[in-house]
């Protein structure tokens, strides 16, 4: 019971963190048709900016300004980089973001060094919130949950209930029509790209000290985020939400299962001491998202909620 409850909590938090990262990616894709390979790099930049902020000011300022800065940087990348490349088609765009990811990686290594930086949880949130079944639950985790839910609500409100959201949604499907109506579509694109990057950076700010802040964090998160977007359905925000939670829960629950193949498939003659039988479910946890990716592409190529072909 306690394992279930804690796995549920941890899984949801990891899932929400994933959603924060992938929401920007899926927005950008649905709007501009760009699969942004550098998206996880913006997440990393968010964490590093926050770390630098906390060195001189406080975590709370970092929480606001690090995503803003990264958002501005993202907008600049779109305005002076992607827009130019766009004329040469999708392959050029893909290559551009691919190169950008490597560039950001190297620049981060030059500025902050190759090793993990000591980005710590703010002292005000560094206490056990409650104790359940002999295990303490850190307050910072709850804070992540609150920030993620607040962001989710704000995003939903912006897209579904405001005029800006209406225009964004319209330009998703009918960019020319929106343009004819007198809206500046390139500027909308730039804003969406910047906002997507800012969301990734926000995930970096609150995730960088929960996990670790190091130059390989982008390369570590990148593939998982792509899995989320593809499984959820390219361009579907709802799909990304469910896929994030699914992957978060699946990974956490898998770790809590100690059973091995030998225990489960004992009836089929798989011995627990054999090479195959000794593999435990928990050791498969890191592989599960990719297994899901393959399965979804085979069974439902559009993803869980997507409408377009991958």
């Amino acid at each position: 019971m306690e394992t279930f409850l804690f796995s549920l909590l941890n899984g949801v938090i990891y899932g929400l963190l994933l959603f924060m990262l992938s929401s920007g990616l899926t927005l950008i894709f649905s709007m501009m048709g760009i699969l942004n390979f550098a998206h996880a790099s913006f997440y990393m930049l968010g964490a590093y900016f926050a770390y630098s902020f906390t060195q001189v000011t406080s975590f709370w300022l970092a929480l606001i300004f690090a995503p803003l800065l990264v958002g501005l940087f993202g907008a600049a990348v779109e305005r002076w980089g992607l827009r130019k490349v766009h004329a040469n088609g999708h392959v050029a765009e893909l290559l551009f973001t691919f190169g950008l990811a490597y560039l950001i990686d190297e620049v981060v290594k030059i500025i902050w060094g190759k090793n993990t930086v000591d980005y710590q949880i703010p002292a005000a949130l560094d206490f056990p919130l409650f104790e359940l079944f002999g295990a303490q639950y850190p307050a910072y985790r709850m804070f992540i949950l609150i920030v993620a839910v607040a962001m989710l609500a704000a995003l939903w409100f912006l897209l579904k209930r405001t005029r800006i959201g209406l225009i964004i949604q319209a330009s998703l499907t009918h960019p020319h029509m929106v343009g004819h109506l007198g809206h500046n579509v390139p500027r909308i694109f730039m804003a969406v790209f910047g906002a997507g990057c800012a969301l990734a950076a926000l995930a970096g700010v609150i995730g960088g000290n929960y996990l670790t802040t190091e130059p390989s964090m982008a390369a570590f998160m990148g593939p998982v985020v792509f899995v989320v977007v593809v499984v959820g359905g390219l361009g579907s925000l709802e799909g990304a939400f469910f896929a994030s939670l699914l992957i978060g829960l699946m990974q956490t629950f898998a770790i809590s299962i100690s059973a091995s193949f030998g225990d489960i498939f004992g009836w089929a003659g798989v011995s627990p001491t054999s090479e195959l039988g000794s593999i435990t479910i928990s050791s498969l946890a890191p592989m599960l998202p990719f297994l899901m990716l393959v399965l979804v592409l085979m069974v439902r190529p559009n993803g869980l909620m997507g409408t377009r072909e991958v």
């Binding site: 190759k114 100690s258 050791s283």
Partner: protein, 410 residues
């Protein structure tokens, strides 16, 4: 006057290179992770080697030759390590130092064996300062490999001896990294506990991917549910830091028996909650009584590298024994040095160590140290450090294990 000075200068310029050409440089390639999740650990190791080399150089070098340490980043990847090894050999390096990752050490041993067979007269010697998979000094022992750290079995022997004296420990959880070393630790823990304390139940035996887990909370959760009284782990680097970080934030208050709890960054992550609870088995802790010269050495090291603490005494042992062996052999040729190292006894500030001739495994005393506060030397300016009391020392001779090694010598 001016002419005399310039003449003198010219003479100096002319004679210095000539003088230097007389002596060789002993190049030691340090092949370890210098980036990524284990970068900080590798970097700390490199700085210990550098400092040990500086001290030897200040004292006339090895047989009059200056020692040069060259760092190679292997990203803890065995394949990448072989590329770096080749690079090092191409630069004329004859001595290799490595420690982080038995998977890497395994690849290096194979490659060095092959290289030495194919290139007689250009042999390369492997100084292993931390890769502790027991197999390297047993079934797969090599004449070209010397291990300056006690292997996983020797450390586990010390650890399980300690557990055997604690009747309150009835359930033990074993967690480790999923590669040869983690598996060796788990196998040793299960085997030795069954022998020394058959009443102890192993409530968990878990391997997690090396350097991939960023949040250990689900694992800690499992340990809490299993009601383990003690945890045994061989984790090191980021895996050690993140494991104890998660344990502390989840309030998991049972003894953690570690191999590398004293590793870089762990103390800061553990904090107050780990005091008296986290133990480490190692060849030394900085709060042991030592001669003044050793105190000065530690002070000098920590002054020079203010952000890390003195940790690898065995690096200094390795460097000094290399120096002594070269003196004994009157040569810096790796083959002659290797023969001189076999069976060598060396007096360290912490007692005598012996390099076994039959399997090239060092015998050194081990200590069970406890994470504490309020001691002479803390770690990384945290106010926390490691101490050991009466009965926490395991004499060097008692760490010896039987070996299956059948050494073939050139």
């Amino acid at each position: 006057m001016k002419r005399i000075i310039s003449a003198a200068l010219a003479a100096m310029v002319l004679t210095v290179p000539a003088g230097m050409a007389m002596a060789d440089t002993v190049k030691i390639a340090f092949i370890d992770p210098l980036s990524g999740p284990f970068g900080a650990t590798g970097d700390a190791g490199l700085r210990h080697w550098q400092h040990a080399a500086d001290l030897v150089n200040a004292d006339d070098g090895i047989n009059g030759n200056q020692v040069e340490i060259i760092g190679f980043d292997n990203k803890i990847n065995p394949k990448e390590s072989l590329i770096q090894l080749q690079k090092a050999i191409d630069q004329g390096v004859r001595y290799i130092a490595q420690g982080n990752g038995s998977s890497v050490a395994s690849a290096l041993i194979d490659a060095i064996n092959k290289h030495n067979k194919r290139n007689p007269g250009e042999e390369v010697l492997f100084l292993n300062y931390a890769a502790v998979d027991p197999v390297f000094t047993n079934d797969r022992c090599s004449f070209w490999h010397f291990r300056f750290d006690s292997d996983a079995d020797m450390k586990m022997d010390a650890m399980t001896d300690w557990i055997a004296t604690k009747p309150e420990i009835r359930k033990v959880y074993v967690i480790g990294q999923d590669y040869s070393f983690g598996k060796a630790v788990a196998a040793a823990a299960v085997g030795m506990l069954a022998e020394k304390r058959p009443d102890i139940e192993i409530v968990g035996n878990e391997l997690h991917p090396l350097g991939k887990v960023k949040d250990f909370t689900p694992y800690i959760q499992k340990m809490i549910s299993s009601e383990a009284d003690a945890v045994i782990t061989g984790n090191w680097g980021a895996d050690m830091v993140l494991l104890v970080k998660a344990a502390t934030s989840s309030g998991h208050n049972v003894p953690y028996m570690t191999y590398y709890g004293g590793g870089l960054g762990a103390a800061a992550a553990m904090g107050e909650g780990a005091v008296g609870r986290v133990m480490e088995v190692s060849e030394v802790n900085t709060n042991l009584d030592t001669p003044d010269a050793q105190d000065a050495l530690i002070d000098g090291f920590e002054e020079k590298y203010a952000d890390i603490s003195f940790y690898y005494q065995r690096v200094f042992n390795a460097m000094n024994m290399l120096d002594a062996a070269a003196t004994k052999a009157d040569s810096i040729d790796p083959t002659k040095v290797a023969f001189a190292l076999e069976g060598m006894e060396y007096e360290t500030p912490y007692g005598k160590v012996t390099m076994r001739a039959d399997n090239h495994q060092i015998l050194q005393s081990l200590y069970m140290s406890t994470f504490s506060t309020g001691m002479k030397r803390d770690v990384e300016h945290t106010g926390f450090g490691w101490v050991s009391g009466e009965g926490d020392k395991i004499e060097a001779a008692n760490t010896a294990m039987e070996t299956t090694c059948k050494m073939s010598r050139p």
